[in-house]
Symmetry: C2
Subunit: 295 residues, 2 copies
């Protein structure tokens, strides 16, 4: 693998706001949330999909979108953690934003991060003004992050918390809450590199398969993972009476599903003709590592 989480972090750090001016409390809260760590999976995928097709890579084009992707993921976590939502006091071992900065500032920091994501992605327009492909990347980002994507999945997840769910509802949550932003990452990267709609559609299909595999693997790890490695207690889904793929279909079926979905994603990726086959190999390796992960 060419990049690790640290390398990706360094690429997006320059796009975080300076903590200065009358609004600095929220600027600090935004940065605190983004810098708290994580796999940096979405910006990494965006970058690899960009490299797969970019004949002349432009850092000034791809990096703002990488940063935007992570800002959107981060805002969703900040709002998720709020007392009126999951009411979580810790994330990745650190106090959540509302614990550290207050609930009002956490709401505003989330709003600000979502907005700043689009603002940051707009830098792509300045690099390639009047480029319809950059516009397509933008439109994909907006759609997949919103009510017909990530937010939509979050809505059902919150509404059904602790209640029974059928397969259709669970699939909707996995597809939207988890899959949509992973799809956006892959599609944006390819569009920015000038890939055509047909290739982007293939990447979209692969990305949703990755999303499903990733989420079901999460469900599995919540039952059989290692608390030390995960950095959080096991059996949280049980405790919250949460319906998961495992509770609906059992552990064996869940493991098989993860396998199937990851194989599907890899098969699609292998069949795509990339300009940079090394980036494609990295993308496939990344998918494999997600499925075989222990945290």
């Amino acid at each position: 693998m060419k990049y690790d989480a640290k390398a990706i972090e360094e690429m997006i750090e320059a796009y975080l706001p300076e903590e200065t001016g009358h609004q600095k409390t929220v600027l600090a809260a935004m940065n605190y949330a983004v810098k708290a760590g994580g796999k940096r999976l979405r910006p990494m995928m965006l970058r690899l999909c960009y490299e797969m097709f970019a004949k002349e890579p432009q850092e000034a084009l791809v990096r703002p979108f990488m940063a935007a992707m992570e800002m959107i993921h981060t805002y969703s976590l900040v709002h998720d953690d709020l007392p009126a939502m999951d009411n979580d006091a810790l994330r990745r071992g650190l106090p959540t934003v509302h614990v550290k900065f207050g609930e009002d500032m956490a709401i505003l920091a989330g709003d600000a991060l979502l907005n700043f994501a689009f603002e940051t992605a707009c830098q792509g327009f300045a690099v390639k003004p009047g480029d319809a492909n950059v516009e397509k990347a933008f439109a994909v980002l907006a759609k997949k992050a919103g009510i017909y994507g990530m937010v939509g999945g979050q809505v059902l997840d919150v509404e059904r918390a602790g209640l029974p769910m059928d397969e259709d509802q669970l699939a909707f949550i996995y597809e939207n809450k988890t899959g949509a932003l992973i799809a956006a990452a892959c599609m944006c990267g390819a569009y920015l590199a000038g890939a055509d709609d047909a290739v982007v559609a293939q990447l979209e299909e692969a990305a949703y398969a990755v999303g499903f595999a990733f989420q079901v693997q999460d469900d599995i790890l919540d039952l059989v993972g290692d608390e030390q490695l995960l950095g959080k207690p096991l059996h949280s889904d049980d405790k919250n009476h949460k319906v998961t793929y495992v509770t609906l279909h059992g552990m064996d079926a869940a493991k098989q599903y993860v396998e199937e979905m990851s194989e599907k994603a890899i098969r699609i990726l292998e069949n795509i003709k990339a300009w940079d086959e090394g980036a494609k190999a990295d993308m496939i390796a990344l998918v494999k590592s997600l499925i075989n992960r222990d945290h």
Copy 2:
């Protein structure tokens, strides 16, 4: 005046989401918030500034941006009203979103509206793909709505609630919380119509003057307005120990300032050469009506 609030509402209604699917609770909450009424000032200004410069007006280009503008204004109100923020139970005589749909759904409805605003504005890219001016409109919208615009103003307003403030802090709040989105409306309209940067800069200056006049007139009406017409009790600023232009400078100076700012805005508008002078006259009439309003 060619348009009233009702006419503007009808133009943006088609861009509201259908209340269907697994996420329909929040779709309903989004529509409830947008349909609750209001002056529709921002989309109206966007439209008039568009008409001022559009030689061949395209409804499919300007209307999505009008809708986006109102969605952003509305999301800010939904989050403003939350218990952790202003904790308001009523807005325009109706239960606020969190009272009607729950706090979690209100947070998500605000997030969804902000995101959907950008998603809706992306429709402009499909109408005029690869148009650098549409991209500029988009970038202005994103910047003025965010941490260096509306959200930034909101941050300081929330932080200083009930506390003393100096002139500089108050001006920052007025400029950003109120002025920035009014500026975005005027600038977006002009950019969409193909106006050049110099004209847009003049409109920006006029719009900020309108924003200041509008906000100080609000402060005045809170003291000497008519409760029936305003639809809310007087002296709410006093009650909340809120620093306003009136508390800092007195009523006479406030009235003079409103006059000066509106005259400044009108002077700038009069000096701009518009393609459609009728739209410009309407824009000037709108500014005058805001300053002379009793509610």
